[in-house]
């Protein structure tokens, strides 16, 4: 891996932010396509939101593969946890879910765990 220029770093940050944001929105659309308790699950396959979410996941994965070519796995893996922060934000704005201390605590614990996994693998 060659040293990164300022331009590289800007590109990496932009891709990281958009990739994690897209991944989080993808799960929002998947949820939108999913009927709540007791609904007919086959409806999922007829919902355009399901395919929109799927395509967005593929785009996010492409961004992730790009990052893996620029940065070591041990750095990309924990950075991917940004997705959970986006999800907390979008589920609050778009679905009216409350951001609780407990959710933030759980998310922080997960991020610490992912960082440890990455350190152990790196």
């Amino acid at each position: 891996m060659t040293p990164l220029s300022t331009k590289d770093i800007i590109i990496i940050v932009v891709i990281l932010l958009s990739e994690t944001c897209i991944s989080s929105l993808a799960s929002y659309f998947l949820k939108k396509s999913s009927p709540a308790d007791g609904g007919n699950k086959l409806k999922i396959l007829l919902s355009p939101f399901f395919y929109l979410g799927g395509v967005m996941y593929v785009i996010a994965a492409a961004g992730n593969i790009y990052l893996l070519q620029k940065l070591p796995y041990a750095i990309v893996l924990p950075l991917g946890s940004l997705t959970y922060i986006w999800t907390m934000f979008f589920s609050n704005r778009l679905l009216g879910e409350k951001i609780t201390g407990r959710k933030i605590l759980g998310m922080c614990i997960i991020i610490v765990g992912v960082v440890l996994v990455a350190i152990g693998k790196g």
Binding site: S27, T87, E97, G106, I109, V117, I119, G120
Partner: protein, 136 residues
């Protein structure tokens, strides 16, 4: 907290199955050794010796991935997105465990601690629900 875990149980279980499928899909791709397949297109691998097994592994990986996505979507219908989506992080845990068992990859002590911490975080998030927030 136990009540919340029970209330979210369906969603949590489905998301765990989906995380496992994602990990299994990735493992199949790892096993496929993508270098062999790309080698075919760059003439590094000759057509008569082209290994078909990796192609099956890759297709199997896609299939498992697609099933995982459908299971995840069904699961997301059973609870809050902010509670269920972070359970995806368990795919790292399953991935490491599968790699250790099937590919005999080495797991360091720090990684094992990380795995346990991720699981603890999932339990903390899984135990939160709308009911908890109304008490505050």
């Amino acid at each position: 907290m136990l009540e919340s875990l029970k209330k979210n149980a369906k969603g949590i279980i489905l998301l765990l199955i989906s995380a496992f499928s994602l990990a299994l899909g990735q493992l199949l791709w790892k096993k496929a050794d993508l270098g062999l397949i790309t080698g075919y297109f760059t003439d590094a691998v000759k057509p008569e010796t082209f290994p078909w097994a990796p192609v099956l592994w890759v297709m199997g990986g896609f299939l498992v991935y697609a099933i995982g996505a459908v299971v995840m979507t069904i699961g997301l219908g059973y609870g809050e997105l902010s509670v269920l989506q972070p359970i995806n992080s368990m795919s790292y845990v399953f991935g490491l465990i599968l790699s250790a068992i099937i590919l005999h990859e080495y797991m360091s002590v720090v990684t094992i601690i990380g795995v346990v911490v991720v699981m603890a975080g999932v339990v903390v998030i899984g135990g939160s629900s709308k009911n908890d927030t109304s008490k505050h």
